[in-house]
């Protein structure tokens, strides 16, 4: 397993977004960690998205795992951050998508499928959700 990118975006001295992209064989594992509390979702993200796209272009990847298990909170402006990142990856990698999410978290159960655009048949067909219970 290799780490491809580590995203720790700061705003006003506070970490507003933290993520790790790792590769395991031909599988990309993208983890969202901590809390996303962001005021302007577009300001900080552009550079990270550009860098991520460049990195992914150099890799041979045929499946994706999004891991939200360690994401404890996401404010509503943070939704756009998740959409921008996941859309880039989903468009770039045409393969199965596994989404690990918390079973008892309203936003991960109710809103996350909207952010991942799973009502698009093409995306829905290749997406599997795995619900994780916290101990």
């Amino acid at each position: 397993m290799r780490v491809l990118a580590y995203g720790d975006i700061m705003d006003g001295g506070i970490s507003v977004f933290n993520s790790v992209a790792r590769i395991d064989g031909a599988k990309l594992i993208f983890s969202f960690n901590g809390v996303i509390r962001i005021d302007n979702p577009y300001r900080q993200l552009e550079g990270f998205l550009r860098e991520l796209e460049e990195i992914l272009s150099k890799e041979k990847i045929d499946e994706v795992e999004f891991d939200f298990n360690e994401l404890n909170f996401c404010n509503s402006n943070g939704f756009y951050v998740i959409m921008d990142i996941t859309e880039l990856i989903i468009n770039k990698i045409q393969g199965p998508i596994v989404v690990k999410r918390l079973k008892d978290d309203d936003w991960q159960q109710e809103t996350l499928p909207i952010l991942l655009n799973t009502d698009e048949p093409e995306i829905n067909e290749r997406t599997t959700f795995i619900d994780i219970s916290e101990i």
């Binding site: 509390r37 979702p41 909170f73 978290d105 936003w107 809103t111 009502d119």
Partner: protein, 168 residues
């Protein structure tokens, strides 16, 4: 021995009154929401305490962003017992702002498919790179709260209530 069931009958009430608003320079909504989650989570299940964090964060953030009088105050009230979780946020607004918020809340409450309304709103706002505008609808569509608004001049009062029946 105190069981989880006993703990989930604990009555808690909190009231914060912040003034003047102009002095709020840090992430007050995040701090207050997180504290409410931690405190409520000491007694109630995680899925309930998380709801408190989301609602306090979104409502307090709205109140701070839309403040019209830096000298005024914002009041946050949180009450939980075995029946319900209630969160009320009051802040000073112009009457026209209240009318606008009321029309928006009425629209949310009258929507037959609130999840679709949330999805459509997210996509529409993202397309034109707008930020914000999702807090209230999120509370209803995602967190299953009932929301209502009132005006006690000069205060806008937004109240969110979640009935705990079956979730303890």
């Amino acid at each position: 021995m105190i069981t989880e069931e006993d703990l989930a009958k604990t009555r808690i009430s909190m009231r914060y009154d912040f003034s003047p608003i102009r002095n709020i320079i840090g992430d007050l909504s995040g701090l207050t929401g997180h504290f409410c989650e931690e405190l409520i989570g000491s007694f109630y299940a995680k899925n309930i305490s998380r709801k408190a964090n989301i609602v306090v964060t979104e409502l307090l953030n709205n109140a701070i962003k839309n403040n019209v009088d830096g000298d005024s105050n914002i009041v946050v009230e949180v009450e939980i017992n075995e029946e319900r979780l209630l969160i009320r946020v009051k802040n000073v607004v112009h009457k026209e702002q209240f009318e606008k918020v009321k029309a928006y809340v009425d629209m949310i409450n009258s929507s037959k498919d609130k999840k679709k309304l949330l999805a459509d709103t997210i996509r529409r706002r993202r397309k034109v790179r707008l930020k914000g505008g999702l807090g209230l609808i999120r509370l209803v569509a995602e967190n299953k709260f009932r929301i209502s608004v009132d005006y006690g001049s000069p205060f806008l009062i937004v109240e969110s209530q979640f009935l705990l029946g079956g979730l303890r």
